[in-house]
């Protein structure tokens, strides 16, 4: 454990960590928050926190799980905050006032039935599924990242699988309803044209 603060060492460490993991951390935050701009801000925040907490990392081989732990906390804090706070649009610098082509492409990527189903389930369950299945954290890493015991992480994950299945079913049902509605509207239009 580092006893004295070495800004240079901490920065170098975080830079190497960033090079290795920023893409997956960003992807995790995008999937958690469904907002690419916000995810970028929070990725930045997670690495700043990693810099500040550098000395708490005891083993370098745990760095990835440790980083996910930071990102997970950042994500949950944001979700909790966002749930209870809705600020006015910031009138200062405005990133993406008009949606960019990248943003539109991203929106498309985030709008599939699976993504929508993930968005339906509680955030901790969503996090568990993403971390375990998409980001390939082991059971112990998952527990560490979520700040819970292994047993608790397993329980969350099990509930998350159930929740996801129900959410996917709900999505499919919604799709079927929408399709039926479209069919009915099309039929009505065609009938109208026929008159």
């Amino acid at each position: 454990m580092t006893e004295t603060w070495d800004h240079g060492a901490a920065t170098a460490f975080v830079e190497s960590l960033f090079a290795k993991h920023h893409t997956e951390i960003y992807a995790y935050l995008v999937r958690m928050l469904r907002d690419p701009d916000l995810a970028a801000d929070l990725t930045q925040d997670a690495f700043v926190k990693a810099y500040k907490a550098y000395a708490t990392l005891e083993k370098d081989e745990n760095a990835r799980a440790w980083l996910y732990q930071i990102a997970h906390r950042v994500a949950l804090d944001e979700i909790r905050h966002r749930r209870i706070i809705r600020m006015v649009p910031w009138s200062g610098e405005s990133r993406g006032a008009a949606p960019s082509a990248e943003r539109l492409a991203m929106d498309l990527r985030l709008s599939g039935p699976l993504e929508r189903a993930l968005a339906r389930i509680p955030e901790r369950q969503r996090a568990a599924l993403l971390l375990a299945e998409v980001h390939d954290l082991t059971g112990l890493e998952l527990a560490a990242a979520m700040g819970v015991s292994h047993v608790a992480a397993r329980a969350i994950l099990t509930r998350a699988r159930d929740s996801l299945r129900r959410a996917l079913a709900a999505e499919q049902e919604a799709e079927r309803s929408a399709e039926a509605k479209r069919d009915a509207e099309r039929a009505a239009r065609e009938a109208g044209t026929g008159r």
Binding site: W5, V48, E78, V88, L114, V134
Partner: protein
Amino acid sequence: MTLPFRRRHNDAEASHDRARADMSDDFTGVLDGAEAAWLEEHLGRCPECRAERDAFLADRALLRSLRDRAPEPPRDLWARTAAAIEAEARQGRGRLGLGQILPPPGPRRIPLGILASALVVLVVVGTALLPRGVPFVLPSSPPGSEVARASEPVATPLVPEANRVAWVQRSADGTFSLVFANVDHACPHADPTCAPLADSSPAPLALAAPPVAVVLSPHSDQLAVIGADAETAGSVLIVDLSTPAPAPSAEATPASTAQPETATPAATVAVTPAGSPSPAHGAARAIISGVTVVGTVGYSADGQWLAFSARPKGGSAGPDLYLWHVGDAGARQVTSDGETFFAGWYGNLVLASGIVLQPVPPEGSPAPASSSETSAEGTAATAAATAAPATSAAPASSEAPGGGAPATPGSPASSPTSQPVEAHPYSFLLDASTGVRTPFALPDVWLPSIDPTGRFVTYWSGTVTPTDPASDGTFVVGQVKSWRPASGRLVLDGWTAPLAPVATPEPSGEPATSAPSPGEAGGVPTNGRLSTPTSAPSEEPVESADPSASTSPPVGPIGTPIELAPAPIAEFDAHFDPRGTRLAIWILDAPEASAGRLWLVVLDPVAGAVNPSLQPMAAPGVQALRGYTIDTGRLAWATPAGQDGQQSSVQVLAWKGDNFGQVQSVPGGNPQIVR
């Protein structure tokens, strides 16, 4: 599906649960060999579990398909991150011994030493009408302090024009202290890198128990401390404060008995530093004891009066209105009906509400005129009340000053009736100096709050119901501990009687019983008094006129309300900012809820309407504990402790013009928010 706490009926179900747990472990690579063998064996004879595993595997494959669709981070992300790290480094926060003192990643560390090891109990102190720049005891953290300067968040922070926020914190050793924080920055959309509130050095308060509420006088020269339900129960304490001494002093006047650990009297408050020219500096004195304060407590705009409602400890009667004038020995009971609730101040006029009972209208009959805004459904007291139904909905005062409710106070009616009744509130203005009482023309107005500029009023429009009825639903008028909204809605309305602009409050030596000067009478706009003849003070305390018999313009809400929140509401607390352009609304949805929700409505005083284009904190709002403060340029509240060990903090929504930002204190402790 197996629920987590579902009782297991048999071994087979327990086996299914075990299989599910094993499958989960298997997927995450932590299933040991023996358990894996058991799982395989179980799956071999359990088609249900096999189907479940297949479904899990299918979902797993689906989830893993997301790996092929990884979003690309912005190209400048490292540049931004590196800049933020450099900014962090320049702040110098958390450098030495970081590994020993930095908690696991989470809430920011405490920037000042004040809260470092504190179990913080945060009490948002109402600083309404606090003149900007009025110094307090220990404003050791001036604008531009280290903390305020330190933050260089990526997004440009807002520099609000906001009054300070104050709170009471509880240290790990159980002592209390008062802290002020300048709101000199605020950040957009909950920027996690936003520097926390720049709080001052704490001024010790020798309290034996967490106070229920602490209210700061408009001149910042006095604190009113409402005792808690421990040893300090039943008291309203006044603590005189002085303008700040040059430096904090550990000494205290004898009266203040400063050492917290030796402050044996429960009802004393010690404030350091000493050396104030005020002879009463640091001393706490009870202006009332043996009561339970009900509802809000507030100073008048000129700081000369404190008003509140209280009922006798033990609950033999309901609340009555009390007034205390600065300099008096004790608070004076103004009403004796057991049903008068202090709602707030309008300048130097007390706003209060009372209760009147009316028979429930027969089904199909038109609702009483008083209920034009509300439904007769879900009435407050449809059970057979043992109270006498009121004969009139009009608040006809029978006492002076202050008067009483029309219903028979204090005891059941001589001829108890089984006729269902419902409780209708009424409200009135009371001149603290003269006792002149002016009822609202509009009935069914409960706990109104008037914007200080006199354009808007917010209130519960509808019926109320006792919070503590007997098990059979009956209650005794005058003995109900408190009332809560029943049928109706919380509304925003226009206000009929504009108040003369409140001049800068000046301390006055006017005795409590003094009559207004002749120049103030006759409807002449005065400092904080109604400008309508209706409330023209007289030399003698007078009974109010029945509004229906008065030729004066009606006083009260205009009666064209818009709904802010519908029933059911267990409790509400709505206040305007000094400019009357922001309205904060706190609502407790259920009596048992530990926290309410708070939101902000932006008002357009020119249009006389809500500005829908600005919703910095839209309904349903943010989670907030009881007690918040809205003042020039900011709204401050305390958050409840959240999940995952998230600790409470003081949150501030600040604004400059129509730009909003947010800043918070360092999270800590288990807040107990009162007002």
